[in-house]
């Protein structure tokens, strides 16, 4: 049907790197399936991250907006 943009439907992200930063924090580097940064962001903004079957939740985007090739989430 309706190809209206719908923010409630997530887009696919590809995790290209996982870094163990502390015993209980991992940093995930995410790009789109064609290898680009998913969207531009400003410091302090967050993203809804989904795991199918588990659900979605809000996480801070922890990489700097000046990185134009990827986005990172320290969780």
């Amino acid at each position: 049907m309706n190809m209206r943009e719908e923010t409630l439907i997530p887009k696919i992200g590809v995790i290209t790197d996982v870094r163990q930063d502390t015993p209980d924090i991992k940093t995930f580097r995410v790009v789109t399936p064609d290898g680009k940064k998913a969207f531009d962001h400003r410091p302090g903004q967050c993203a809804m991250l989904s795991i199918p079957g588990v659900g979605e939740a809000m996480f801070s985007i922890t990489s700097s907006p000046t990185h134009t090739e990827f986005m990172e989430f320290s969780i």
Partner: protein, 340 residues
């Protein structure tokens, strides 16, 4: 203006139902009015209003958002959206009609909620003026006129006739299609009925409830009022108020694994529940007092602040009728606002 004899109203309903689903308040087995699909043989309820509001037509209890299929490390997202089918909701009261405007401001501002938008585009709303408003009604507090309900078509029941007036293009199109089952009418009887309704509204026990003390910019004035403790003391956090309220619109998004795939859906949620918007650090509102306060501040202060002074309540009176511990927005307004 058009009219249709009430004795022939089934012909009107049948004509509408020829091309689309028609819904209206119909008495259930327990005698209470529920919005149901009309079929020949069913009667339009004479009840003042339904137990639950009609928001379900545009914002259903549960709604499938997308499907997921996973295989190893790959995910497929399946867009399950389908264009809504045309439908008509008949017999909506002025209060509930106003609630759609309030919900529109939430769902239709950028980013547009396409699920809600599709239903709104395909739904035609036919309202009916309230011949006998009752003691729990206070729509006038929020500037709503029970005698002149909004909607695509407004109707009035008086003198054995149903009078119909189109207000929008959608309404005009539908009324034109109903020419065969309606006749031309002047509005004399309607004007008289409006007068009657407005006279009744002025005499209702809640006619003197004013919203002037509330609105945008009043957070500081009311947030720390000591009265919240007593007001919220008996609140069970059952969520009934949010369930029957025409303007409550919070929802939760959840995933359900069927074994053959994953369904992501949304469902109504309630700010009165202790795990509402639970976050990693815990919750931002840990007492029932804070949750109770949040709900009323939202309707009386925050919503008008963000929406050109429009209140988040339509005075339908359902919370007055349904709260198990008899708390309601009128009591909150009188307790807090009376101090002005």
């Amino acid at each position: 203006m058009r009219k249709c004899s009430l004795s022939k109203i089934d012909l009107l309903f049948a004509e509408i139902a020829k091309t689309q689903s028609l819904y209206m308040p119909i008495d259930g087995a327990d005698g209470r009015a529920v919005y149901s699909k009309w079929q020949a043989g069913k009667a339009w309820s004479s009840a003042l209003n339904t137990v639950k509001s009609p928001k379900n037509f545009f914002f259903p209890h549960t709604e499938e958002l997308a499907n997921f299929k996973t295989a190893g490390k790959t995910i497929e997202i399946i867009d399950v959206r389908a264009e809504a089918e045309d439908f008509v909701v008949f017999g909506v009261r002025a209060c509930d009609a106003k609630s759609f405007d309030i919900l529109d401001r939430v769902f239709l501002t950028d980013p547009v909620d396409s699920f809600y938008a599709s239903r709104r585009e395909h739904g035609v709303i036919i309202t009916t003026a309230c011949n006998r408003p009752t003691e729990t009604c206070f729509c006038t507090t929020f500037g709503i006129d029970a005698a002149e309900p909004a909607g695509d078509i407004s109707t009035w029941k008086t003198g054995g006739e149903l009078y119909l007036k189109a207000n929008t293009e959608k309404g005009e199109a539908l009324l034109a299609a109903l020419e065969g089952v309606t006749e031309a009418a002047d509005d004399a009887a309607v004007r008289a009925e409006k007068e009657n309704i407005r006279k009744i509204m002025k005499k209702l026990p809640l006619a003197d409830v004013k919203a002037d003390a509330f609105g945008g910019g009043k957070t500081k004035q009311y947030f720390d009022d000591p009265a919240w403790a007593a007001l919220s003391e008996s609140c069970l956090g059952c969520g009934t108020c949010t369930f029957v309220c025409p303007t409550c619109q919070c929802y939760d998004v959840k995933d359900f694994n069927t074994g053959r795939g994953i369904i992501r859906f949304r469902c109504w949620d309630s700010c009165m529940y202790s795990d509402f918007t639970l976050m990693a650090h815990g919750n931002n509102r840990n007492s029932q007092k804070e949750r109770f306060r949040q709900r009323f501040m939202q309707k009386l202060v925050y919503y008008p602040e963000n929406n050109d002074g429009i209140f988040g309540c339509v005075g339908c009176g359902r919370c007055l009728a349904k709260c198990p511990i008899s708390m309601n927005i009128v009591k909150v307004m009188k307790t807090l606002g009376g101090k002005n």
